[in-house]
Amino acid sequence: MTDYNFAYLDEQTKRMIRRAILKGLAIPGYQVPFASREMPMPYGWGTGGVQVSAAVLTPDDTFKVIDQGADDTTNAVSIRTFFERTAGVETTTATSEASVIQTRHRIPEEPLTEDQILVYQVPIPEPLRFLEPRESETRKMHSLEEYGLMHVKLYEDISRHGHIATSYAYPVKVEGRYVMDPSPIPKFDNPKLGDMPAIQLFGAGREQRIYALPPYTQVVSLDFEDHPFEASKADHACGLCGATDSYLDEVIMDDQGGRMFVCSDTDYCEARRAAGHKGKDAA
């Protein structure tokens, strides 16, 4: 294998992806089909996000990759190394220093700015897929704005459990038109999707879809008047930094049922600790 192009993809592929991104921005929440390429990492491991990042990055960017909120998880490390190698971009773990952030399953705690782009890795872009497995059908449903099935499903949850039993990949409606899958972020992150100053791009490689939310787009989590949407998280403070406003991971400490809660956003947690905040389990 010899030299690869800047950011790995050939120019024709990048143009195809770039055209899809522009259409995605023009029709917020609509899934634009694109001819996803085989990437040197497996489908389902962020190939959509990687292709979008590759089409968006310039050598002047500072790139951050998080998986489950953390910069140091193995797949985040692998993707960050890929772009260091193929695009020669600067990388960072600090949210505020990054101009492009690729993420899997989280939105950073620190509010993003107009100078940033958030690229999501998406496994199943179709919010209606688990109600209707056929692409030809779901595409029709979107075109007719026929979202009754989704409401029925959510309402069945309520009648059975008293709650909507969807805790992540919680569907949203964009600008009153398209129902969109926000990728498997916890519903705790849903309120951050709307009115965000940064551009949000979503890439699903295996399913060959790109979609987008321009800045300051109206994004509403689906709910009912008598059962309003509720962003939830573990009812604890971070054991390390004491934060009460961040999404928490549960860590099993021993086999006696001992556990603690820590920020899933590692950069957020580290910055707080550096600023002197301390949780109850901090050394």
Binding site: P42, D67, S264
Partner: protein, 362 residues
């Protein structure tokens, strides 16, 4: 005291180093050469080329070596390499009628122009482990004879002359290309065939087998199976004519299927088609059966709800690189999603528990 996990980068590097060591195995044993794999594991090489959609035996052999013999991993390596190659153009359609056949059999006619040629087949070998191979691999030379000159006509052509088999009119429409455009439904036959030729062999075999067992049975006879080399020609606009740019080995299967007629078609035989890189006859036959099953709509047959009739189901799940990636991605961390599920289940249980207590009190 808890310290957040660090060291993903070091863990990855160490894992890769260990993998490289394991791949090599015991260094007292001679290392495999690419040529050895190419020559002696040819059917593996052929499968990797077929499902990798790249005809290059040396690269396929390299991929097999690098992947420790995991063929889906090797196919993945080839696909990822293929996608970076510039595309200079498209070849002319290959002429399988002019194939230099190593093997050519028909199950529908005892003898026919061009003859039955068994070729290098496992058929009729007794599947007994050959312990001699473990010691020495010397083989006696196989007998040879002069090949019959001239093209070998297709069996379906004979049936066509009598009007007994459906017409397959010549069509110069450029076929769609699912490696360049997103897969879209409904998929026409050319697109379905492209998807099937690079589809996972096992998946295709299972689907084909299901049609034989009654899930959209289509009564297939192997009209013809041929394996051999064909010339690849390309029109070079700068030259103003077509030149031969190389030769590839293909396996082609044409099935002849019983058909009682339908609302739109008279009783006649119909066709299923399989064409695969290399010597891959299990795959070519499977492909032809699945192709035929997927044609129910254009032939006016009933949809009996069989998996092999369902274009979306077949095409969206036939690609082993897509499938294995998504399947294996559930190994990746899902702490965040799982945490939100934990919270939800705890909450639901709490409330269910509370309800029970309340009921007991009433």
């Amino acid at each position: 005291m808890y310290v957040a996990v660090k060291g993903g980068e070091r863990a990855i590097e160490s894992a890769h180093a260990w993998l490289a060591e394991e791949r090599r195995g015991d260094t007292d044993v001679a290392e495999l050469s690419i040529a050895q794999i190419r020559e002696q594991l040819k059917l593996s090489v052929d499968r990797v080329m077929a499902e990798g959609s790249l005809y290059d035996p040396d690269l396929a052999a390299l991929a097999i070596k690098q992947s420790r013999g995991d063929l889906i991993e090797a196919i993945f390596l080839i696909r990822a390499y293929r996608t970076t190659l510039p595309r200079f153009g498209a070849s002319e359609p290959v002429d399988t009628g002019a194939m230099a056949c190593d093997r050519r059999i028909s199950a529908t006619f005892k003898d026919l122009p061009g003859g039955q040629v068994l070729g290098p087949t496992f058929d009729y070998t007794h599947r007994l482990l050959d312990f001699k191979l473990a010691a020495d691999g010397d083989v006696p030379e196989a007998p040879t004879r002069e090949s019959t000159p001239g093209d070998v006509p297709h069996v379906t052509g004979f049936l066509n002359r009598e009007g007994l088999i459906e017409e397959a009119p010549h069509d110069d429409t450029p076929p769609p290309d699912l490696t360049r455009e997103p897969l879209e439904m409904p998929a026409d036959r050319a697109l379905r065939l492209q998807a099937l030729t690079r589809a996972d062999e096992g998946f295709t075999l299972g689907l084909a087998y299901s049609t034989q067992r009654g899930y959209a049975r289509n009564h297939a006879f192997v009209g013809e199976l041929r394996i051999g080399a064909v010339a690849v020609e390309m029109d070079i606009p700068e030259l103003g004519f077509t030149i031969e740019i190389g030769e590839i080995t293909l396996t082609e299967c044409e099935t002849v299927n019983q058909f009682k007629g339908s609302k739109t078609e008279p009783p006649q035989f119909t066709r299923g088609y399989g064409l695969v890189f290399g010597q891959s006859e299990r795959k070519a036959i499977s492909m032809a059966l699945v192709d035929r099953a997927l044609r129910w709509e254009e032939l006016g047959e009933d949809n009996v709800g069989a998996p092999a009739q369902d274009t979306e189901f077949v095409l969206y799940h036939a690609d082993n690189i897509q499938a294995t990636g998504f399947l294996e991605h559930i190994k990746l961390p899902h702490y965040v999603d799982f945490q939100s599920e934990l919270e939800l289940v705890r909450k639901l249980r709490r409330e269910a528990g509370a309800d029970q207590v309340q009921e007991a009190a009433e």
